[in-house]
Every structure is written in C-alpha cells, then in structure tokens.
Symmetry: C2
C-alpha cells in the first residue's frame, strides 16, 4: 500500500482567489485532491523541492502545506522515504482523519482474527470448535457465587479498594505454593495474553528478533509484532534442535517463545531431552525464554515432563500460566513466574497499563486453590476433555469421507490439529462452515510466515459430546463430495501427513 | 546516568592463555571489568576503532566482543552515541543480566509512585488520604453478591466464556444509553488507566508531543511518557486559553489531555466558555482531545458544565470514564466513548493487550445501571463525600497552626489540593507522616516538569469522618512547630496563594 508512486500528480489550483496564505491554499488543494481521489490512499507525494519547482512557489510553502495536511491526518512523512497519502478525510466537519493520527506501532498488527474467534464463541447460533475453551458447563458456579458473597461480606476492603499491581498477596502466595517458587517471583495477570504483552513491551525494541513455535499461538504473534519485533518461526512438529541453534545464531533473538506441553495449536509435547537442550541453547546464546504453560496441567492420563522453568538452573525462563483453561477464560486471570529482577520491571509496566488486576476474582481463585478445589476441578476436566476428544474422533471417522482428514491425536490440551486433503483450503471450508453454523480456526492464523492453508484447529473441549457430534455432522455436510477419510497419527511420532 | 565517559579504561588481558577465540577472550575481559566495577554502570566504552588500535586487534574482534557482551545484557549500543555499560552481571550462573535486556521504552518511565499509593491504600495500619477512593464503606456489597450469584445461575455462558474485546453487549448498551451515544462508540475498559494506555499506544509515536493539565493525573503522565511522547504541561489553575494556543502552535501536539471537572489533583472545573474555546482550538490545530471524565458525576450540589464530548460537534474528543470512583476501584471497570473509527482501532490494540475485560463485573454493573441502582449510589456518594470534606476542613482548621495550609475548596470530586507554607517541602512532611501512619500524595508527583514541591493532595472521600479527624490530628502531630493556619480559597476563583 505504501509502494505506489504518484504517477499523475493532479494540477493544483492555488491562485489568489481562495484567499488566505499561500501554504494554506496549497494545503486545501492537496486535501481536495485526496478527497476526490486524485491522490489515492498509498501514493507518494512529490518531494518538497520538486513540487516547489513545478508550482513556482518556495520550498517553505510546500513544507508548510505538507505539515498542515499531515496534521489533518491525510498524509504521513517517513524519514528518507517521502510523504504518503494515508487516509481519506473523515467527513466535512472533521478537522482530521483518525486513521492518519495512528502511531506506527498501531499500524503493525491489525489482524482481527482473535476478535472473530471471540465473537463466534459468544454467539449461541454457532457451534464453536474455534476459541480454546474448557468444559465450562462443568464449572463450579455455585461455589464461585458463594465464595464471592463470603469475601464481599468478610473482607470488603480487599475486594473493593486498590490492590498491589503485583497481585493480591493471598493469590500470589497460593500460586507460589502450588508452583513451588517464592511468592516474590509471582506476578498476577489478567490472563496469559497480558503476560506476553507485558514481556513484549518490557523487553522488545523494534527490530529485535523473537524465535517462536511455528505454528504457534496467534496472540503471541500479535503481541511480538506489535512491539515491532521480527518474529521467526521454529518448526515445532519437527522440534529439530539443530534448526533452533541455526535460528539463534542467525537472528540473535532477544526471546524464544514456546508452548512445550500440549502445544497450541498442534497438541505436541516437547520431550525431556529436547527441553534440556533448548535450555542449554538459550543459555549459550544468552536468550530469554518465555514458556507458555497454559495447557500443561490438562493431560489426560500422563503428566508432561517438568516445565522448562523448573528444569532451568540459570534463571533464563519466564513461565506464563493461565486460569482460562483450568477454570474459565471469562475470569481473565493468569500469572507469570520469573526472576525477581524482571518481575519488578513487569509490575511497573502493568501499573501504567491497567494499574492492577480486579480483586474479587483473585480472592475467589485464591480460596479455590487453598481449599484444593482447583485441583479437584482440573482432575474432572482431564477426564471430561478426554471423553470429548473420543467423541470428536469417533464422529470424524463416521461422518467424513474415508482418508479425507489427517490429525495428530494429542495426549492432553484442547486441540485437534488437522490437515486437509491436497488442494482443499481451510479458509474455503471455514466460509462454508460458518454459513452452516459451525466454527473452527484456519491453520494460517498460526503461522508467522506463509503456511497452514491446508490445516485447521478444532477445539474439542468446549462443548458436550452430543454437541460435538452435531457439529462434526454439520462440518461433514459442507465437505466437498470428492474428498477421502480420517487417518490419525499418534502424538509425538510424526508430523501430520 | 548515560553521560559519563569512561575516563580510566582498564587494562584488559586478552592473551592466548585463556583459550577460545580472541573476541570471546576480549568479551570475558570486558565482562570481568564490569563485574569488578572497573567499568561502572553508565560509562561509555571506547569506540570499536579506538579499542582495536589500543589492543592491537582487528575492529571485527572488538565489534564481535561488544555484540557478545550486549547479548549478555551488560552493555547497550545507542546509534550515534556509543556503547554504554547498562547493568552489572546477575550472578555467576546467569547467562545474562535482565536489566540489560529491557526495551528502551520500558526504561522511559519507572516511577513507582502509583505503586506506593496502592500499597498504602491496602495497608490497614495506614490512614490513607493518598489514593483516590470513594466511600467504599457505603458500597452495596450484598446487592453486588446477589447479582453475581444470579448471573452465574442464569447466564453462566456469558459470565465464563470469551466475550468481545469491545465489551459485553449489555454493558456497552447500558453505558451508551446513560451517556447518550450509539453503543458502537463505547469501548469497555479495565479502568480509565487502560483507556489512557490504549490511546497512547494507538496514537503516539516516540517524539510526538502531548499537552496536558499541569498539575495533572500521574497515570496519564506515565502512559504518555512510556509511549515516548514529549509531555508538555498547561497550567490548569490559570486555564489561560492564550497559553494553550501558544502550546499548540509551538509543539503541534498529537493529543491534548484534560480532566475538566473536579480535576485531579486540583479539584478545578473548567467553565463552559473555556470548554468551548478549548474545542475550537483543538479543531483549529487539528489535535485530538482526551477528556478524562472520572469525577464529573461526583459533584456535591451543582453539576459541572456538559462534558467536552457532548459540546464537540466535530468528532475530536475521546471521552474516558471510570467506575472506580462511582463504585469501586477494585472492580477495574471503565469505558471510553469516541468516533467509531478510533474505537475499532483501540479494540484491536486491547485485543492483543488483555483480550477482553473480565465478564462477571461487566454483567453485574450493567444490571446496576439498568436498574437505576448506580444513579442511586452516586447520589448517596455526593452527599457522603460533601460531609467528609466538611469534616476534613473543620479538623484542618482546628488542628493545624493558624495560616499554615492554604487550599482550594472543591465543589465535587475527591481531592483537597493544598499548599504548604514557604520553605516547607511536601516530601519531608510525607516522610514524617508515613512514620506516624498517615499518607497523602506529595504535589511534585503531578508535575511533568519541576513544580509542586510545596503542594500536596489529600483525598477526603475514602475514609469516614471520624477517621478523617484522627488522620488530620496525626498529620498535625508531625507538623513543624514554626508553621502558621488553614486559609481557603473558593474553587474557580483563584489559584492557591
């Protein structure tokens, strides 16, 4: 959009009749040319020197006119590249176009995919395999309401007043005990996404490199891109440590981001030797690691290897956790664990970002942890999610044509990562699926570069087995007739084929 | 800290005995010099060329060594300025120093004052006139608990699942009806602070200017500074429109930030003619305006003039509102109202920042608004806060020496902005006050440049009248004996004298 050059620069009329100073008349003429489309979005204006020569005015006049239309948000100057039309005018009354007032950073990542996921998830007309939600129908709503009432009655000051940016002391202590760290290393968050955003804001300068899972979590890609980082993918299904070392050598990244247990979106778990090697590489290349531990407790039968944070003896890991999948995403609660030096910095950034996390939810969850009710609920989810996955697998095999869909069977987490037959595009299927009232995420949303057009992610955890069966049948109904059956690959053995 | 030059560059031993490549040996020598203090924090290293000549090695060796110690977080290169020591090593095992890995932006504003306010506010040993809290002891806790339970029972999906980044449709609709705008213009926030941070991230590039109230809200100063903005103060007590125009002409700011009703910290309300003039100036200089409306409903008897947002006919105002002062800060709920074009952009930034605001609080507050209970509560607060102000004024006159403290009597809001006698410093008084178990905010925290050392802010709304009296007596007890009595100036008439 920024690459066109203005080929036919319009004739500008800036003769004396319009009144006012010459630069303002030129600015009006330029604004009119933007308004009528003679200067369309994205074209580069002539240099100040060229336009001055062409119009027979001073270069100062042109510079002032350019500054004037920049203040109206119509053009934007880029040092060394020139001045470009960046917006049409907002309407007769508006003194400027909002779009033209946006920061460069805000223009970097405007992907609305996350927003779509959420709106499908909250639309009762759509069966959603899209957003990652646990079995919310099993949430202990009554207990939650009871604890809320109790806290408001017995400790209204803590519930209603200001609290520390680091989090409510009771919740920090409960998380610290459960995760096995001193409580000064815990920072309470409004969800794991906030953790990624805070780390990005705190550590990334524009141009810094980040190496992350490919495919990988969409919200991480967005947070790092927004900070101006160069995001480089590391093939998470191959999990080749030689490739990782090549990337560290070549890009010298500031951060490695990985989701090592029941990865989003592939469901893949990084084995213990690879975890140890990843940590050794991070230390050798002096790179910090963000470990996204969102799914690590949601195994079906066998726990994954220990978190990177606990394997690390050199203090390079920031561990991000979430209550969104163990309890409910609508609570907006998560945490991170890291060296005190960086927790303190992150808390300062959080302070000016949202001051603190809301108190009531923190205090209720601290009670749920302390009373052992969280662990109980997580055990329930493990069994329930395994049943839902079984229902989804069975229905996919029953409803879809033979050999038409391959997927990795995960041993935990919430996602089935699927590959479509050759020449079938996930975006096309999604369009038909949405029309039929069924949603999933097309694979390309998880790629930093090209890729994923023939892949898709199904969340099997959020809806009960019978709804899963209904959803899969709807999906089968919009399947193209020429396609073939479900084949599966055991997790960790090989990439989808 | 960045301005020292390394005067006595240490002798580095990089002879062959240490093994390894030459650049690594040089890097080790430099790291050792940092560790033992020979190269202290803040010094500039010699240029690559100079050090290469001095050591008789190639410039590439020095460049590689500098890059190596930069990856350890020990030094940081600044284009055109050189390479500076930015951290000591973190300990023997750590492969890098976290502080050296921080983004430039994160280093811009590390003021912990907001954090101190919050910790005093949540410390039961301290009577706090510091943080801005309303009469939380009058909060309808039972009703809130009832509504929470009801929503969890009747609509668990909305309470627990994902929701739109823009906010729960019911709360957006309730805010829109109450404020008199279409609901597409409303964005729900986790408090007004998030609104300021989102606007800063969305609109400000490093170097952009922002004109804001001086003295003005601390959290606004921090949000704009963190975005790299040049923050310029406009004297809010003089409210001189000529001065504002001069600032707009001189700095061409991207934003004007103002808190026009019962301003934080001065309590000042901008009269109607000045509001109209401010809007005309903003339109003339094509500058967006952020109006902080946090206190506008908390008048004692007479409402302030209409918000800038409603006076504006040209769409230049972003109005930020908060439930922190009308209900409770611990809920972390606020909103903003603006043109749809910018609301959409802000929602995209919010999406990658924290995905969405927690649902339960939103749904409960939507009920409080719809049922008229919010308005009822605000009426109660108006009367209660007026009584608390009266108690504070009376006790200040009684307990402090004659003519020792002057202040503006506000007609709403929550703050008494006070001036100390000449030569008395608010920071000194605060230190003694904290020792005696009483907190307030020293005035300089509200200034972008120098100023405020003899001023302080007392919040009169948060504690009951008898606690206010006890607190003022504690303050009087640490008052220096030589100081003289309380004199007051009616709001809007003149600055404190």
């Amino acid at each position: 959009m920024w690459n066109h050059v203005c080929m036919n620069f319009p004739d500008l009329q800036i003769n004396g009749r319009a009144g006012g100073s010459r630069y303002l008349r030129l600015a009006e003429a330029l604004a009119a040319a933007v308004a009528c489309g003679d200067l369309p979005l994205g074209v580069r204006l002539p240099s100040e020197r060229d336009l001055a020569a062409r119009l027979g005015v001073s270069r100062t006049t042109v510079a002032s006119a350019y500054r004037e239309i920049e203040s109206r948000g119509l053009v934007r100057g880029h040092v060394g590249r020139g001045t470009f039309v960046c917006a049409g005018p907002e309407g007769d009354e508006a003194p400027f176009a909002w779009r033209g007032k946006l920061a460069r950073g805000a223009l970097r990542s405007l992907d609305p995919t996350l927003g779509h996921l959420m709106s499908w998830a909250s639309n009762p007309e759509v069966i959603s395999f899209a957003a990652g939600v646990p079995a919310l129908d099993r949430f202990p709503t009554e207990l939650f309401a009871q604890l809320t009432a109790e806290i408001l009655r017995t400790n209204p000051a803590a519930a209603l007043g200001h609290g520390p940016s680091e989090g409510q002391p009771r919740l920090r202590a409960a998380i610290a005990r459960r995760f096995g760290v001193p409580r000064e290393r815990v920072l309470v968050l409004t969800g794991a996404q906030q953790g990624l955003d805070l780390v990005a804001r705190c550590m990334l300068d524009p141009g810094d490199a980040v190496v992350m899972d490919r495919p990988g979590y969409l919200g991480a890609i967005q947070a790092f891109r927004a900070a101006g980082a160069h995001v480089v993918g590391w093939d998470v299904l191959r999990a080749d440590m030689g490739e990782l070392e090549d990337l560290l050598l070549r890009y010298r990244p500031k951060l490695i981001y990985t989701n090592p247990s029941f990865q989003n979106p592939t469901g893949r778990t990084l084995p213990l030797p690879e975890r140890q090697e990843l940590l050794a590489l991070a230390a050798r290349y002096r790179t910090a690691v963000i470990e996204d531990g969102t799914y690590e407790e949601l195994y079906f039968t066998k726990p994954p290897p220990p978190p990177l944070y606990h394997l690390d003896r050199r203090g390079v890991v920031i561990h991000v956790g979430s209550f969104s999948k163990m309890l409910a995403p609508g609570l907006r609660l998560g945490w991170l664990v890291a060296a005190e030096a960086i927790v303190g910095q992150l808390a300062l950034v959080k302070q000016r970002t949202d001051a603190q996390t809301a108190n009531l939810g923190q205090l209720v969850v601290a009670e749920l942890i302390g009373g052992g009710r969280l662990d109980e609920h997580v055990r329930l989810l493990r069994a329930e999610h395994a049943r839902r996955l079984a229902a989804m697998e069975a229905e996919l095999e029953r409803a879809l044509p033979q050999r038409s869909l391959s997927y990795i069977r995960p041993e935990g987490g919430m996602y089935l990562w699927c590959r479509l037959p050759a020449r079938m595009l996930a975006r096309d299927l999604l369009e038909r699926a949405i029309g039929a009232g069924i949603a999933f995420v097309n694979g390309d949303a998880f790629y930093t570069e090209d890729g994923g057009s023939g892949e898709l992610r199904l969340c099997f955890a959020g809806v009960p087995a019978e709804t899963i069966r209904a959803g899969v049948r709807k999906l089968a109904a919009v399947w193209e007739p020429e396609m073939g059956a479900t084949s599966r690959v055991a997790a960790g053995v090989a990439p989808v084929v």
